[in-house]
Amino acid sequence: MSSLPPYATTGQRIWHYSFRIICGLIFFFLIAPIVVIIPLSFNAQDFFTFTPEMLALDPEGYSTKHYEDFFTNSDWQLALKNSLKIAPVATILSVSLGTLAAIGLSQSHVPFRRAIMAILISPMIVPLIISATGMYFFYSNPYIPTPFGKIELPFTLTGTYWGVVLAHAALGIPFVIITVTATLVGFDQSLTRAAANMGANPVTTFFKVQMPLILPGVVSGGLFAFITSFDEVVVVLFVGSAGQKTLPWQMFTGLREQISPTILAVATILIAVSVLLLFTLEVLRRRSERLRGMSPR
């Protein structure tokens, strides 16, 4: 596939190049919508298409006024602040609980392993609208079911900061579980035994031996959890109230009601964030592979 042998027939040549063109078109389909957003966000007009000035590369056609709007408009700033308040806390919650559980799951003898795994992964599989519906009902009136009837809890989570954080943490957990267990597959268990042999207690072993080695997996799980919360809109629409309006929520209402070009500026900023994230993950992946390559098998 990589290159054409010199004896290729004309038909093979045609197929080879047309296949490349088809693939190029598909890549174009994948990437163009994202790239097009970027110049459009610098539009000096309130239009969503390229103005003649922009096509002529006239500096008059470009401006940063939509970015200025984003950084001065109180609605957008509140949304940004809320997103930055919710996502990190949800991430910390899911990473700490998730890493612990992943370590437990990767031990050699775990009863009901498959069932537990299925429950822990389920937030990723269940459609968001269903999770949101369930959470909306349950969080507005949480209770503990007992065989004698339900004990209603004296607080409500709907419309509160902690309600949204809890919901987002639950949604991020499958990603942490998957990435950390994947890292742990390559972890050499004899290292912990060696540490114990030399007199380290389990806590020391965890922080000094195991943690540094699985850190790339934990961090990339954390990034997944962060982006899940940071991007999430369905659950926050249902569980949150106006006080928890996040960036995606603001974008969603913006797109549904009065579509303003500021959204394109926000989108461009978010694209930059995801490029950064992609880069970080790639570095982590390489580092993890190197570390694992070093450990004796």
């Binding site: 990589s2 296949f19 088809i22 693939c23 598909i26 890549f27 919508p33 994202i34 097009v36 957003i37 459009l40 239009f47 969503f48 298409t49 609980l97 612990l100 559980a101 370590i103 437990g104 799951l105 031990q107 050699s108 003898h109 775990v110 429950i119 992964i121 599989i125 269940v126 459609p127 968001l128 609208i129 269903i130 999770s131 949101a132 369930g134 959470m135 909306y136 009902f137 349950f138 969080y139 943490a169 957990i173 990603f175 998957i178 990435t179 267990t181 809109v233 369905v234 249902f238 797109l255 549904r256 579509i259 394109l264 989108a267 978010l270 694209i271 995801s274 994230l277 992609l278 993950l281």
Partner: protein, 544 residues
């Protein structure tokens, strides 16, 4: 020598080795479970319980039996023809009097309105007129003896003196710091003779207390007089009520002897003819049990009829069409993803690593870009005055006045969602194709196969697991999508999830939303199970 081999093998501490190993294994299992437990509890509380709650709500229907308890117990005996007997209206009058005070009748009305339009306004209208029932005996009694004008008369008549003292003491405490009100305690002798009055007064007490008021200091409802007057002729007033009240009761029986009491049935029919309508009563009767399959029937375009489930009228059938549309659109998105994803995965799997990694970024960048960003991109691009139409006009494929309608319809949803879900197809396909040795294809060709045969007979069958994994993943994700169809789908391009959201936030028919959600969840869980069988949950990979 024989001594050492015959006994059980011992560990260093002298225990049998087998027991020692078992103990170690148990401790290991326990430790693993201890590590998992916090997360498992967290997920159970924050995620599994909400889902279970939703499943429960799809069959739960306690509102009728809670709001109209007296009517609900009588209705099973109704023959289903015309308006029920006086006794049912009598019960309804009492239930509604309680419900109106608690403002629960409007909620019940809107609940039953999902099943039959018009009931909501019927309940609202009736709620305004129901407090007139009982004014006739009230006037008569108040004229006979001033004691009937006292607000605490009913309480002292029906409740025990201990309860009267307790409730007065409770009322005297500071409302902010006091505990729960003492439970109502009726005089058993009185309750035996006047069961209806006692039960209604108990409801009255509950209502007053829930408003933090003293039931002895509130005006009694007129309907209490009505019920008392009804039960008086056939009852012998008990001897252990306070003397002045016993006297008043005796007088009352005489005074009411010639009075015609209010007729609830006539009054209800006077307020609205619909109370004589069989359909209204059928609806109330059908939904009186605490659990119902009505929401599920509703979500497959059926309803409860007189003789079991029946189809809804043709013009009210929307959900089956919507389910089918969701399926078809998810399938077309899945098909598009296979069509577009297969060549890309092939290319990535067969290029040298350096080039493949470079191109992989083009797949991963959309994967990592916010869903809202991609949706807004499509919303901007697909508009009639958007970039795609502009380019088409500029090339000359379409005329300026014939711009394509690409958004707010099914086309828009399919284009945008194919783009959004394509990485989920490419990544599993790629990881499967990476494991297919290229030498197989070369071997097939050297044995005389044409390019097409070699691909179709040798390569393609080996890539089928990847297609399966990708298809199920894309299908699961697309069938429950909400945001993108909502923004680019208009009215024709929306999914079942948009309907669920509509019922939760706009029509407030939560039971129906829960039933639709349950059906969707069942479909997804079935697919998830298939995915687990084919791919295994442990093998889910993220981002290559």
């Amino acid at each position: 020598m024989s001594d050492t081999t015959s006994g059980p093998v011992l560990a260093a501490d002298g225990r049998p080795l087998k027991a020692s190993l078992n103990r170690a294994l148990r401790r290991q299992k326990l430790r693993a479970l201890m590590l998992i437990a916090p997360l498992l509890i967290f997920i159970l509380v924050s995620f599994v319980m909400p889902i279970a709650d939703m499943l429960f709500r799809s069959v739960e229907n306690q509102i009728v039996s809670e709001t109209l308890p007296r009517t609900a117990t009588l209705l099973p005996d109704w023959n289903g023809e015309g308006a029920p007997d006086d006794i049912v209206f009598e019960a309804l009058a009492r239930d509604l009097a309680v419900a109106v005070e608690a403002k629960a009748h409007t909620r019940l009305g809107s609940r039953l309105n999902y099943e039959q339009t018009g009931i909501s306004s019927l309940f609202r209208k009736t709620g305004r007129g129901v407090d007139e029932i009982g004014e006739t005996p009230q006037d008569v009694l108040e004229d006979t003896n001033d004691i009937w004008k006292e607000r605490d008369t009913f309480g002292r008549l029906i409740g025990t003196s201990d309860w009267v003292d307790a409730i007065n003491a409770w009322d005297a405490e500071d409302a902010r710091s006091r505990g729960a009100a003492p439970e109502f305690d009726a005089n058993p002798n009185f309750a035996e003779q006047f069961p209806g009055t006692t039960s209604l007064y108990a409801s009255y007490v509950l209502q007053s207390v829930s408003e933090e008021d003293n039931p002895l200091g509130e005006k009694p409802w007129p309907i209490l007089f009505h019920v008392l007057a009804q039960e008086l002729p056939s009852a012998t007033p008990p001897s252990d009520v306070p003397q002045e009240l016993a006297l008043a009761l005796g007088e009352a029986a005489g005074a009411l002897a010639g009075v015609t009491l209010d007729d609830p049935k006539a009054m209800f029919l006077d307020i609205d003819d619909d109370w004589g309508d069989t359909d209204v009563w059928t609806t109330i009767q059908t939904y009186a049990p605490a659990y119902t399959n009505g929401y599920f029937l509703n979500s497959i375009d059926m309803q409860k009829g007189l003789d079991g489930p029946e189809w809804r009228p043709e013009n009210e059938q929307i959900y089956i069409v919507l389910f089918i549309r969701t399926m078809i659109m998810s399938l077309s998105i899945m098909g598009m993803c296979v069509l577009l994803g297969y060549p890309i995965a092939w290319l990535l799997a067969n290029l040298p690593d350096r080039k493949a990694n470079m191109l992989m970024i083009l797949v991963l960048l959309p994967f990592w870009t916010s869903l809202l960003v991609r949706t807004s991109a499509w919303k901007v691009l697909l508009q009639q005055q958007g970039v795609i139409n502009d380019v088409l006009v500029w090339i000359g494929i379409v005329a300026d006045d014939g711009r394509l309608q690409l958004i707010n319809n099914q086309t828009g949803t399919i284009i945008a969602m194919t783009h959004i879900l394509l990485p989920f197809m490419i990544l599993p396909l790629y990881s499967v194709m990476k494991t297919i040795p290229p030498s197989y294809l070369r071997a097939a060709k050297s044995l005389g196969a044409t390019n097409w045969t070699a691909f179709w007979r040798v390569y393609f069958p080996q890539s089928v697991p990847g297609i399966g994994a990708g298809c199920i993943l894309v299908f699961i994700l697309s069938i429950g999508y909400y945001i993108t169809p909502e923004l680019v789908g208009g009215t024709k391009g929306v999914f079942i999830s948009n309907r669920i959201a509509y019922h939760i936030s706009s029509s407030l028919n939560w039971g129906l939303a829960a039933a639709l959600g349950t059906i969707l969840l069942a479909v997804v869980m079935g697919l998830y199970w298939m995915y687990d069988k084919i791919v295994g949950i442990d093998n889910v990979k993220l981002g290559g």
